[in-house]
């Protein structure tokens, strides 16, 4: 019942591969048998109406659902040939390689510098911390705005700057994949545009999976789009196809704004 197009991996190993993935919250089957391949160095958007399971699916990719006591995951998520849900896997190691940026900017109540240095410090990457911090802030397009006030509180920044700080903080641990859960939904249009430009830059080095409510945003920034509805993956393929020529009725109804 779902449609999946061929994903062009360009001869490379996929960054992530979900296979028959299901998530339950108590009796609720929030994500139902989803299989999805995330190609390396691409932006994959997860779209769908509220409650369709897109955030839950995203949180499977770095085992964030472990933190919710009632959540139970079945199926596999393969990453470098290993199932992230294998008993031997340490979720702490997973999250180092698969970073996450959240819906609301959530900087720590620390200085700008300490926010970015937090990840390297807890992961024992203390060599040349100053350079790591600078490079991460540059990658997040924030360096020019904060380089002269790194010791200021992160809360002195605007919402958009805080979100870029959270992106810098994630990049500082040098992940391979960055998960973004509606990273611009709490921001104004100008801050949103900056985040979108940043995502475009970041895919040169990182694979990005982004959940968004905003269909125009998905259309602008993503290479592939997955449409989820009521816990099921309805259609997954190149963004242009999904938005201009979808095969599934429900996808077309959603992307043309007939429901959502």
């Amino acid at each position: 019942m779902s449609t999946t197009y061929d994903i062009d991996l360009a001869g490379r190993e996929p960054a992530l591969e979900a296979i028959d993935l299901s998530v339950y919250y108590g009796d609720t089957h929030a994500v139902q048998d989803v299989s999805l391949t995330v190609p390396s160095n691409k932006v994959v958007a997860l779209i769908g109406p509220s409650g369709c399971g897109k955030s839950t699916l995203l949180r499977c990719f770095n085992r964030m659902n472990d933190l919710i006591g009632s959540a139970r995951v079945e199926g596999r998520v393969d990453f470098h040939g290993q199932n992230l849900y294998d008993d031997a896997i340490d979720p702490v190691e997973v999250r180092r390689r698969v970073g996450m940026v959240f819906q609301k900017p959530n900087p720590f109540p620390k200085s700008i510098y300490d926010n970015v240095a937090f990840g390297p410090r807890v992961n024992g990457l203390k060599d040349d911390l100053d350079a790591t911090v600078e490079q991460s802030l540059r990658s997040a397009a924030l360096w020019d705005e904060v380089s002269d006030r790194l010791t200021d509180s992160a809360y002195a920044l605007s919402g958009g700057q805080q979100q870029r700080l959270c992106i810098a903080r994630t990049l500082a641990v040098k992940p391979e994949i960055v998960l973004m859960d509606e990273p611009a939904s709490a921001l104004d249009p100008i801050a949103t545009q900056k985040i979108e430009e940043l995502i475009y830059e970041l895919k040169k080095e990182y694979t990005i999976v982004i959940v968004t409510h905003n269909m125009q945003q998905a259309a602008r920034i993503s290479d592939y789009t997955a449409f989820l509805y009521m816990g099921q993956l309805i259609e997954y393929g190149p963004t242009e196809t999904i938005f201009t020529n979808p095969r599934e009725e429900r996808t077309e109804a959603y992307v043309t704004g007939r429901f959502g």
Binding site: M64, G69, F102, F108, F118, G119
Partner: protein, 302 residues
């Protein structure tokens, strides 16, 4: 047009007014009592200082108001109180904070619901029981390890006062830790932090104002604690740093002097108020300090 009465009925007006007056009287009574207590303290303290100089009170190293040659140096009592408070703090602050971290970050909801009330029972045990516990259990135990321990000693009193104030620290600190938004925890987990790192490097620093306020309140309780230290720490005003010796705290002195041997109207009698005033000022200062810490750093997280 039918007549509709919108004017108030006389009896209802009277009832509402009376209820308001009763409620106001209750609120006013407690405030007035507080003011009265402070006024009496101030008056008697002034009377005391018209007979004894403030300098002597603060610098004399002997507290001997009942002796032929009187000395009114509050330092020995102050040292006694501070020693008990410091000892209690050494016991209660780490244990209380670690308990709070456990309850807030590690324990599941069911375990927390069971443990927290149990811990708060500690706060409900009458302090006289703690005093006898110190005298009949802690002191003999101390003597096993340190035979030179005196029967009445500061160490045993500090230990039990410390146990007594653990719930103050753990309960208030836990509230502060739990008030830290989960989004901060998720952010830290998302960077590959372990549970310990999330707790110690993100949650505790974010809740620091509440944690410190709980410390200050607990120490303030330890300074004001009376019964346990009167029973266990002794009645010997003594400037010492050895916790195995007998001491006297400000509160214990007030108990001793109130027991009736001191003739009313004498300077020795007025020492009661001078010491009480000192105690009141110290605990007041600490309460104000804890309020200030809370308010000053409240906006640490969004």
């Amino acid at each position: 047009m039918p007549h509709v009465s919108l004017t108030a009925k006389g009896s209802r007006n009277f009832k509402e007014g009376a209820i308001g007056a009763v409620l106001f009287a209750c609120a006013a009574a407690s405030t007035l009592v507080t003011i009265g207590v402070v006024l009496v303290l101030v008056r008697e303290t002034f009377a005391f200082f018209s007979e004894v100089s403030v300098i002597d009170f603060l610098t004399d190293t002997r507290w001997e108001p009942m002796f032929q040659e009187q000395h009114f140096g509050v330092l020995p009592l102050l040292v006694g109180s501070v020693m008990v408070a410091v000892g209690a703090g050494i016991v209660a602050l780490p244990i209380g904070l670690l308990t709070a971290i456990f309850l807030s970050e590690y324990a599941g909801p069911r375990l927390r619901k069971t443990l927290k009330p149990l811990l708060e029972i500690l706060a409900g045990i009458p302090t006289v029981v703690y005093g006898y516990f110190a005298l009949t259990f802690v002191t003999p135990l101390l003597r096993v390890f340190f035979p030179e321990t005196e029967i009445f000693n500061a160490a045993a009193a500090s230990l039990v006062v410390g146990i007594m104030i653990i719930p103050t620290v753990s309960s208030l600190s836990e509230d502060a830790l739990r008030a830290v938004p989960d989004s901060l925890r998720e952010g830290a987990y998302g960077l590959g932090a372990t549970k310990l790192e999330v707790s110690t490097r993100v949650v505790v620093p974010a809740a620091l104002s509440g944690v410190i306020a709980s410390f200050i309140l607990a120490i303030s309780r330890a300074i004001g604690e009376t019964m346990a230290v009167t029973i266990a720490a002794g009645n010997l005003p003594n400037i010492t740093v050895n916790p195995l010796e007998s001491i006297q705290t400000m509160t214990a002195y007030i108990v001793q002097a109130s027991l009736g041997d001191t003739p009313q109207g004498t300077t020795a009698y007025r020492t009661l108020f001078a010491v009480a005033m000192t105690l009141f000022l110290i605990t007041l200062a600490m309460n104000v300090l804890s309020q200030w810490v809370l308010a000053r750093f409240r906006e640490e997280y969004q």
